[in-house]
Every structure is written in structure tokens, then in C-alpha cells.
């Protein structure tokens, strides 16, 4: 665990429209041990009154072509495993729009 972190805290960084939704660039949130990424997303959505899950997962329960991104410690999360991925204290989670461009 990083020093300077309260027990069970993770850092959430927000990019693009997620900044507008949360009206901030970043925040620290406390999580219970063993919490999945999906649970955090659902709880965050509830807190701001937005269906946050639908940014990442389509109505058919699968990621969409244009799903937003979740990046944990620099790694892009495979959204098909969002309910299995457990968040650890000290993790840096970024919510970002999908990349736009020619690529």
C-alpha cells in the first residue's frame, strides 16, 4: 500500500465527460476489501444519480464498441471482467472516454 493513503482508499481520476458528471478532476474514495470494480462503478453512479454502468456495458451485458475506458494503474481494464476485478487500496483508477481519432 502506498504511504500517505488512508486504509482502503483508492484514487479516482476523471477525464472528459466524467469530469462534467462528477464536477471534479479527481477524488479519493474508500472501498471495502474485496470490492469489485463493477460495484464501485455502480455505487459512484448512485451517488451522482447517473447510470454509470451504461458508460461501459451495453444493454446486452457486453462492452460496446464505443465503451468508455477504465484504466487501473496504467492498465486498461478488459470490461468483460469488470465484475471480477477486485480493487486494492492504493489503486489509481481513471475513468475516461474512449479514444477518438484516426488511429
Amino acid at each position: 500500500m502506498n504511504s500517505g493513503w488512508a486504509l482502503n482508499e483508492v484514487e479516482l481520476e476523471l477525464v472528459g465527460r466524467f469530469r462534467e458528471l462528477f464536477k471534479r478532476k479527481s477524488m479519493k474514495i474508500s472501498v471495502e476489501p474485496g470490492t469489485s470494480l463493477l460495484k464501485i462503478i455502480m455505487e459512484l453512479g448512485d451517488a451522482i444519480g447517473v447510470d454509470l454502468r451504461s458508460e461501459f456495458i451495453g444493454p446486452d451485458g457486453k462492452p460496446m464498441d464505443e465503451s468508455s475506458l477504465i484504466i487501473v494503474n496504467g492498465r486498461v481494464v478488459d470490461l468483460t471482467r469488470i465484475s471480477e476485478q477486485i480493487v486494492k487500496p492504493g489503486d489509481r483508477i481513471v475513468l475516461a472516454p474512449s479514444v477518438a481519432g484516426g488511429g
Partner: protein
């Protein structure tokens, strides 16, 4: 057949004569338009491309629209230009957007082919069937923006659209572009310099005819549906922040090139982000003709360079910003204006200046070489001065940079070739090589050189569908599939930003059939994409391209990334070789990257099979 005008213009600049060529059904079905027509025609018109100097009258300059231009099709008003590139020495190609393509098509022409060289500067006017080569002596030396205004004034008609070159094209700067409607460009491969070498300053087009489509009602229904999808989540990112939204996302992923690709993050990313730009610099958001998305973010500089207005997309922002260590949106807005008005590609320009800054900081270039410019990363003044000199080929620095990064690094030597970020001579675009490795394979095998627009292979990297910090054989198939699809998109020609609104290749084929009346399935149109890609590769093979040319620059293999999020990321050579083998296998090419005879014959390319193809 509808959609197509059915004819193209042939302009012999040496003799000042024009004639007409025909587009028939089999040409249309096999090559679709745009990229396909250009590849086919360049291959046929230049039988020995290796012997052609790109600046000689023997180079051929080809312009094509696609079947959708001038119709109501969503985001389909595009045109493409082709020639042997003076920057890369191989297949040169670029696409621009805007009203120009629809005016050109509405005048009754699918394309134009320019041969030879005019003795004096000229521009071409296409006013329906009235074609005229006019003297450009009054506008020679003018910027692209001035040229557009002066031509309209001279013709006494605002409804002409103008595609022109600036002073950079006239001086045959190898990075020179072609500009229409002020901020839309055929950007890459130095095709503006080919225009300059032919003394062709501009093409002005105006059309009054309707482009006929096969099934009007069906098309209207389908386009209404597509336009509605365009308002959905698939394109929101383009509409709100535009492509500059990538800055912060790439920074978080460690794939934002900075300091000439020495790093994959930029400590001042927030200051040049799409979010910041929208808040402080975006003056208006505009759309190309017939596009319901509207992604073009036009900036206005504030304190420094107040009054400067330019259109800033992700690539320009990134290469002229973080890649040169620049953190001022005012400076970047000004830098784009310099490139747009004087007429050079912002991507290549930002790349080569970044390289020169690294050379300067390492002592490889001195103040003597730069005519006194302190070419340091982060210096706003140095960036703007270097760009101006590059565009005008002014002094030692300007002459050097105007050659593009490959040639410049060969001239300077002293190990600077190692960090000249290009492939096949085309400057690498704003995607870090070591932290997006599928994307890197896609760039490196592309027909144009380091090309970010030919396969979309970055998508699997950024979506977490593969390990983006490693490579394996399976990546070859991803690039292969993407390239074939993009070849279709670039032949129709539609905007790539709409790719998310089409559910399948069948829908692209349906659009083609509704417009042209020529029956086409998703499978057939994809096959056409593969055929087109192979024709362009065969042209390149004739120019000497083989496996040796399909690699990223040495830095990708030798300098691990230092940034926290992707620390140590580097491309492992053996993995790259494996991925490249996988790609060639999918393509049906030899291990040396040459198309096999049997693959070419399967695609109906018997001429290429005979001239270029090898046995298995």
C-alpha cells in the same frame, strides 16, 4: 450506374490541353472510388515508379472523389489525391474533406489527372463542363488563405471552392500539403510539393448538377437512420471535445509522445488538454458539408498571438505541443496557423521540429546549424521560428527541416537517425510506439509509411483487448482486417469518425448499392478493399519496398519508456518479427513482404501477378 459522374478530366500541363477519360462499371465495382481508383491508376500510369523523380514532369498527380461525394450520404464529401511521394519515394496519398469534393462532383467529374509540368504557374478552373487553365502569376507566393480569396475574387463568384498550395508547396518543401476551405487539408506525403513542381497553384471547382442516385427513397431512409445514430454515444466524443480529448486519455495510458517520443507522458498535459482547450480557446465547432457530427474545433488564441484563429485537432495539438515540449495553447494555435497558411502538414512538421530539438539539446545541432535559433524543447519562440523557416525553406535550418525527418537525419548523421521517428520516410503520428504495440505494427506495415489512418489497430490496444505492451503473431490478423475495412472506407470515401455508426460491412455495401445501383455485398466490398491494398503494395514493391521497410524506428526497440505507467515498455524484436510474419501470412505475401502470385490472381490482379508477384 449512378453516383459516379462516369468521367474524369485529363490535364496535360506541359501542353496546356485537357481531355476526358471514362469510368466504367467494372472499374467502379473493382475499385469503388477514392483510394481504389487512385491506387489502380497510379500503378497503371507509372509502370516504372522507381525511375520517376517525384518532382519531375513524369510524376502523375491524381485526384479522385468517391461515389458518395455530392450525395446526401453522411460525411461522404471527401476527395483524395495521389502521386509518387517526394517525402517517402513510394505510394503517396492523402484525403481531405469539405465542400470541394461535392462541388467537383456536381460539376460532372469523378476525378482529374495531371501530367507534365506547366511552364508558368497556373490554376485550373472547373465550372461544370467549362475547363480552363488560368495564369497564377498574380497569386504565386500567396498563402493558402489568400489564394482562396483571390481566386474567388478573380472569378467573381463566391460559390467556387478552392484547393491550393501555399509558399511551401511552391518551394517544394517535402512536407507541403494541399488546403481547401482554409483548414481542410490533403495533409500527408508532401503532395502539395508535387503540385508545386508542376507549377499548379490551385484547383477551383463549382458545379450546378445534381449527382444522381439509384434509390432515392431508400437512401433518404438509410441516411436518416445513420444520421440519428451519429447523434448517439458512438460519436459523442467527437462532438463535444473533438479529437483533442485524446490528450489526457493518452497521458493516463502512457502513450502521449513527448519530447520527440522520448517519453509517453507529458507533465503539462492538463494545460494542453481538450478539456482546457474547450474552456479557454475554442471559438466555434464546425462541420464538414453533409456531416451531422461536427468535430472541427476552431481555436482563437488569447493573450499571445491574440486574434490568431486556427482549427486544432489532436494530431496537430500533440505533435506541435507535447512532442516539442510546448505547453501553451496560444503557441500551438499560432503554430497551426503558420502551417495551414504557408501550407505544410502539421504532423510531419511537429515531428521533424521535435527531432531537431532533441538534436540541439544533445549537441548534435549547434546554433550555427540553426542560424542562431535556440532550438530547445518547450521554447515557444523556437517552435514558431523553426516552423516559419521550414515552410519557407529559409536558411540552413529551414532547408534542413523542409526535407522531412528521414532525409534531415541522414544529412545530419551523428546517430540522429536512431531517433528520427518515421517509417518509410513518413513521420510518425501522435501515438507512442512502445505503449501501443499493435498500433505500431499497423503504422509500420502501412502503404503510406507511418500511417495512423490505415488500420485503426490502436483500438485493441486502448480497449484492453490485448496486452498493448507486448506483441504476438495474432496481431497480424487484427491489422490485416482493419486495413481491408479502411481501404473500403477510404474508397467510398466516408469520414472515419462515422465508422462506429455502421454496424457491419454489409451496411457499407448497402450504402454503395443504394447510391450506385451496382449490387454489392459486404463480402465483395471487403474483397475490393483487399484488392486495393494489394495494388498499392505492388506499386511500393516496384519502388523497392520489402520487409526491411516494415519496421518502426530504432527507438521503439532500444529505448525503454521511462514513464511510471508504462515503465520499461519497449518492443522486443523477436515479438515484432513474429507479428510481422503473422501479418504477411494473413495477407498471402512472402516472408519478404512481396505479394504471392496466387494471392494476386485470387484478387483478379493478373497484371500485378505477372509484374510483381512471387511464387510461394
Amino acid at each position: 450506374m449512378k453516383g459516379y459522374a462516369g468521367k474524369y478530366l485529363i490535364v496535360d500541363l506541359t501542353r496546356g490541353k485537357t481531355s476526358v477519360g471514362r469510368v466504367d462499371e467494372s472499374f467502379a465495382l473493382n475499385y469503388i472510388g477514392g483510394y481504389g481508383f487512385g491506387a489502380r491508376m497510379l500503378y497503371d500510369m507509372m509502370p516504372k515508379p522507381a525511375e520517376v523523380d517525384p518532382f519531375s514532369p513524369e510524376n502523375v498527380l491524381i485526384w479522385w472523389t468517391g461515389p458518395l461525394a455530392g450525395t446526401i450520404s453522411t460525411a461522404g464529401n471527401k476527395y483524395a489525391v495521389f502521386a509518387k511521394s517526394p517525402l517517402t519515394g513510394i505510394f503517396g496519398f492523402g484525403i481531405s474533406t469539405g465542400l470541394f469534393a461535392s462541388e467537383f462532383k456536381s460539376a460532372g467529374w469523378d476525378g482529374a489527372v495531371f501530367t507534365g509540368r506547366s511552364e508558368k504557374p497556373v490554376y485550373l478552373t472547373i465550372d461544370d463542363e467549362n475547363i480552363e487553365l488560368r495564369s497564377a502569376s498574380r497569386i504565386w507566393g500567396r498563402t493558402t488563405w489568400e489564394t482562396e480569396e483571390m481566386i474567388k475574387e478573380e472569378l467573381g463568384d463566391e460559390s467556387f471552392t478552392v484547393a491550393s498550395i501555399g509558399p511551401a508547396g511552391e518551394r517544394m518543401v517535402r512536407l507541403a500539403n494541399i488546403t481547401n476551405e482554409r483548414n481542410r487539408q490533403v495533409g500527408r506525403c508532401g503532395l502539395g510539393a508535387v503540385m508545386g513542381s508542376k507549377n499548379l497553384k490551385a484547383v477551383a471547382a463549382r458545379g450546378t448538377k445534381d449527382v444522381e442516385v439509384f434509390d432515392v427513397e431508400g437512401l433518404v431512409r438509410f441516411i436518416a437512420e445513420l444520421n440519428e445514430r451519429c447523434q448517439g454515444p458512438a460519436t459523442e466524443k467527437y462532438r463535444v471535445y473533438g479529437t483533442p480529448a485524446n490528450i489526457l486519455v493518452h497521458n493516463k495510458l502512457g502513450c502521449l509522445p513527448s519530447y520527440n517520443f522520448q517519453r509517453g507522458t507529458f507533465e503539462y498535459a492538463e494545460e494542453v488538454s481538450g478539456e482546457m482547450m474547450l474552456k479557454t480557446h475554442v471559438k466555434k465547432i464546425i462541420a464538414c458539408a453533409g456531416c451531422p457530427i461536427a468535430c472541427d474545433h476552431v481555436n482563437q488564441a488569447r493573450e499571445d498571438h491574440a486574434g490568431t484563429v486556427s482549427s486544432v485537432d489532436y494530431e496537430s495539438l500533440e505533435l506541435l505541443g507535447p512532442n516539442c515540449g510546448i505547453r501553451s495553447l496560444d503557441t500551438i494555435t499560432k503554430a497551426v496557423e503558420i502551417c495551414d497558411t504557408l501550407g505544410v502538414d502539421t504532423i510531419s512538421a511537429g515531428n521533424v521540429v521535435g527531432w531537431a530539438m532533441e538534436c540541439f539539446e544533445k549537441g548534435i545541432l549547434t546554433k550555427e546549424d540553426t542560424d542562431g535559433v535556440e532550438l530547445r524543447f518547450g521554447s515557444n519562440e523556437a517552435l514558431l521560428e523553426a516552423l516559419r523557416r521550414l515552410c519557407l525553406k529559409e536558411g540552413r535550418l529551414g532547408m534542413l527541416l523542409s526535407e522531412g525527418v528521414r532525409r534531415a537525419s541522414q544529412i545530419v548523421g551523428k546517430g540522429s537517425e536512431r531517433f528520427a521517428m518515421h517509417c518509410k520516410g513518413l513521420e510518425w503520428a501522435a501515438y507512442e510506439l512502445r505503449s501501443l504495440q499493435t498500433s505500431t505494427l499497423g503504422f509500420a506495415v502501412s502503404n503510406r509509411g507511418a500511417d495512423y489512418l490505415r488500420s485503426g489497430s490502436y483500438q485493441v490496444d486502448v480497449k484492453g483487448q490485448v496486452d498493448r505492451l507486448r506483441l504476438d503473431k495474432s496481431r497480424g490478423k487484427i491489422v490485416y482486417d482493419g486495413e481491408n475495412q479502411y481501404a473500403v472506407i477510404d474508397s467510398l470515401i466516408i469520414c472515419k469518425f462515422t465508422r462506429g455508426v455502421f454496424k457491419s460491412m454489409d451496411e457499407l455495401a448497402k450504402l454503395y448499392t443504394l447510391v450506385t445501383g451496382l449490387s454489392m455485398t459486404g463480402e465483395q466490398i471487403l474483397k475490393a478493399g483487399e484488392r486495393i491494398h494489394n495494388v498499392a503494395r505492388c506499386f511500393n514493391v516496384k519502388c523497392g519496398v520489402t520487409r526491411k521497410d516494415d519496421y518502426p524506428p530504432p527507438r521503439a526497440f532500444e529505448d525503454p519508456l521511462p514513464d511510471d505507467v508504462v515503465k520499461g515498455a519497449v518492443i522486443r524484436r523477436e515479438e515484432y518479427e513474429e507479428a510481422l510474419d503473422g501479418y504477411y501470412e494473413c495477407r498471402g505475401w512472402s516472408r519478404d513482404g512481396i505479394p504471392l502470385k496466387r494471392k494476386l490472381l485470387e484478387l483478379g490482379l493478373s497484371k500485378e501477378a505477372e509484374e510483381v508477384g512471387v511464387e510461394a
